[in-house]
Amino acid sequence: MPKSGPVIYGTHKRKSINIMTQQIRSTTRPKQKRSSTQIRAWVNLLFFIIMVLVLAPQATGIPIHEWISFVVIIPLFIHLIMDWKWIVNITKRLFKKVPADARFNYVLDWLLFFLFVVATFTGVLISEAALPALGITMVIDPFWSSLHDMSANLMTIVIGVHLAMHWKWIVTNFNKYVLRRPARSAQVQGGH
């Protein structure tokens, strides 16, 4: 018997085992690839819930308000990264022919981002719980405090408009992915 015989047989066996394993996997565990819209829907829902908690310091108390304010930066980044192509695309075409809706959304989103940065920055400057817990103490300046309140209130208003601008997308994808109801109309793709 040639010495190479068992080696060929072994390779064959391994290949057939691999194929069988793949077949078993494909039949027992169907592919559950999540679409980017589905991920976006869940991230946006989480972002909204955290944002509501952040905007309610009277309900959560100052320490939770401050710590959650740091946490909310993560879904914000994901939210922006998921729509990065849209942001780049509109930035490039802003002074050319862009639909009025998209242009309005773009300006509104910049305003929202600016207000978010101002609220976060001023929030850090007037921190009463989070920074002192980390050993950093600051004197609370009434100017930063009033700017923080102002930017947070304005941000709440702009969030309302932002949500309304994407209301169709929100309702469609919340029904489809969160409530798992069958879609009544065609799926609305993308956040913008």
Binding site: P57, Q58, L80, V117, S146, A164
Partner: protein, 111 residues
Amino acid sequence: MPTLKDAVLATLFITIFSALMMLGVAQLDSSAWAEGVRAEYSTETTSGEAKGGDAEDGFEGMSGPLMIVLGAVASALKISLLMGIPGLITIAVRRRQSRSANQSPAGTAAS
């Protein structure tokens, strides 16, 4: 889904841009507006009109659980009004716009 390169670029851009914005906002510290707010606050403090902390605005002297419930209700109301009213107005305006676009000759031709 964005690529890893896109994600890194976006993260860098967002971080740098936020830092620049913060630097810009920090310049307000020495502005006349800031001085005005500080002067107003010190006048209020000396005349005894200063309010309490953020979490306890309007709820001083109340017991713990009641304060939490009232705080939650007040926050829910505030958020609902601040988000809801502009949101409803926006939805109404958009519906009106799309209706008028559908009724116009160009809209009819397009559809």
